[in-house]
Symmetry: none
Subunit: 214 residues, 4 copies
Amino acid sequence: MMGFDMGIYERKQREREQRKSEILDAARKVFSEKGLHTATMEKIASEAELSPGTLYLYFKNKEELHTSLSIEILKRLVKEVHKVVKLDISVEEKIEKFMDVFIEIYDYDSNILINLFHLQSGETLMNLSDDVLKEIKKYSTQSHRAIVDVIRQGIEQGIFIDEHPVALADILWASYAGIVLWVDSKRLLNNKKDFVKSTLRTAFSIIGKGIKKV
Amino acid sequence: MMGFDMGIYERKQREREQRKSEILDAARKVFSEKGLHTATMEKIASEAELSPGTLYLYFKNKEELHTSLSIEILKRLVKEVHKVVKLDISVEEKIEKFMDVFIEIYDYDSNILINLFHLQSGETLMNLSDDVLKEIKKYSTQSHRAIVDVIRQGIEQGIFIDEHPVALADILWASYAGIVLWVDSKRLLNNKKDFVKSTLRTAFSIIGKGIKKV
Amino acid sequence: MMGFDMGIYERKQREREQRKSEILDAARKVFSEKGLHTATMEKIASEAELSPGTLYLYFKNKEELHTSLSIEILKRLVKEVHKVVKLDISVEEKIEKFMDVFIEIYDYDSNILINLFHLQSGETLMNLSDDVLKEIKKYSTQSHRAIVDVIRQGIEQGIFIDEHPVALADILWASYAGIVLWVDSKRLLNNKKDFVKSTLRTAFSIIGKGIKKV
Amino acid sequence: MMGFDMGIYERKQREREQRKSEILDAARKVFSEKGLHTATMEKIASEAELSPGTLYLYFKNKEELHTSLSIEILKRLVKEVHKVVKLDISVEEKIEKFMDVFIEIYDYDSNILINLFHLQSGETLMNLSDDVLKEIKKYSTQSHRAIVDVIRQGIEQGIFIDEHPVALADILWASYAGIVLWVDSKRLLNNKKDFVKSTLRTAFSIIGKGIKKV
DNA sequence: TATGAATGAGGTTTCATTCAT
DNA sequence: TATGAATGAAACCTCATTCAT
């Protein structure tokens, strides 16, 4: 019966989402290889086996296409973070799990996390429309708030150090993201691919330990 | 008598350095406001109250001008880190001082530290000449090695956790830089200028605690 | 039926060739009027009633556009020279016909022959890619070899003087081209348009006579 | 006594000519290596161990500097041609001597002869001031007339073919210059340096033979 | 006369974006 | 909806020329 009572509009809508997703895949690949500036719409189009003009039927411009990638990963983060929050485990274990979320995402696509980071950089932020900026803030806030809640619990339970929970959440988040970016750039410089993951794990555990009392 | 009858060559050399420095100042400002891509040589020139052509008497091209800014801060970091290393204080105190170095530099010019960070990103590295890349590696290595030495001492003295000292140094460095960049981007998003410094201090102390034993 | 339902690909290909040819026509005109250096891509574009960017869809850069003109005439020369070679006439008559080839080409477009000549000049050769240089050599060699064969026959038949046939071919070719260029420049200086063709004919017959025995 | 009664003005004038000549030497070298367009005033200046600004005290602009080189060789040609004309030898021998003049000049500096040739090309002529153009015409005419006279004698003596002497002179001149340029470009293409001179000699003798009766 | 730093017009080229088909 | 040829603004960069010293 499936598909029988799906209206034409729904099917079209679905096809549209499908196509959009294909473009994002192509864009992810090209941005990863070339970087924001060097990547061209033409290259992305050819990667997606479409013509340049078609991209503009799905994304207003290059900037929005690029930002969409970052928003995608933000959504993913929010989803995973919320999953962790809902688990019936101790706050310490939750912090451990947050770490896993970052590592998994880095594992899935190292470059997209880096995009996310660059998204936060001044250069990009300056050129975004208010609408997109709002969306970024929305998702940022959501995942941020979830982490803050966990941290707050930890403080209330006397497990984490007595600092403002928002600040602690920021620090946790910033350290995770910053370390990923930095370690990844070291990887690029030295062409060592293996040491990244173990370094990340050590780094995260250090921070995890740092926010604990004593 | 020295300096009294400074030769023509010396004076010219000095004027040249002076002019170069003025251009760097203008470039720093424009790159900060606009970002690497959006900043134009024309804008930098007009900021320096020079004509575009003049920039090219002092820097081979835009990329080199931009990279010079980053190398400048790398040198500064090396110098400050070495100062700390030579101090007659405990390793724990040295780690504290490293933190101060980062904060001071961020204080001096928040954007240049971000340049330094972007310098490490794949996109930038791809477009640099081998010569410049070598220089970056040189200074990176110098400061890195100094930190590694301090960490190693800490481990030998049983103060820091038993991890590979190079990895620990990486993590320390990465956390500092990553946090600065991330926190700064939050500042940009929220227009809160004040919370940055205190957040940094807390973040760094967390990491400092994380690398200690027990 | 052929051509009736010409496929889309064929039509596009044809349009592309058509457009390329239009650009070459415009370029020929502008280069003729201004010379390689003084001619601008903008002028060529406006002559072709296109925008500057469009030129780059068909030619990689200015140099390649200019060189394409010369290669075009080289191809034409090769074709005409081969036609002559295949004729069932005496070597003396073939030499006469070679002369006609030059005159006809000069008649068709005086400036393009001059481009061909300049193409051989050091300045131009230095700036060409290896690929284009190879193509030039290919066509040069082809027409050169055809002429050499005719000369060799003439020597074997005891009609031409006993010199190395390659050297004789060079001299013939060089005299033809050189005289065309020189005479054309005299025309420019004196604004006499009519005397060119008859002068050429005399010049060529002198050389034709010079290579004959006794 | 020499120099004693040379006035200050004369000495200055002499020094000025000397300096001008040094600049021309440097320019000749750089234009030879780089070609008209690629050569820069800065490079010429540094070759002459002067500053760019100084060049403009002796030559109005780059074009005039370049043209001066060609006029120099024109003067040289005029002088040598006149020497030949005044010799008490047969017209046939004079034609032989003209050939030697070309070869000697090519031997002295192959590139300057090529400059002379390019000077006659449309591109250059279009950009010259009327004054310079007049000077070129003057020297061109002088040497041309001398050659015409010799040719005319040859015709009157029944030695050369019955063509308009001016046309014959043109052809002689054009063949010599054209062959030099063409052969030289073959040399550049093939990197054979030795065959040039012998090829030239053969070429010239062919033309010399061509203009003779029977 | 000589300098050489500075100029700035003007060139080539790229590429995000549009629009007729 | 999809195309992709065409656009044209805007960037980087060069270098002949000037001018204060």
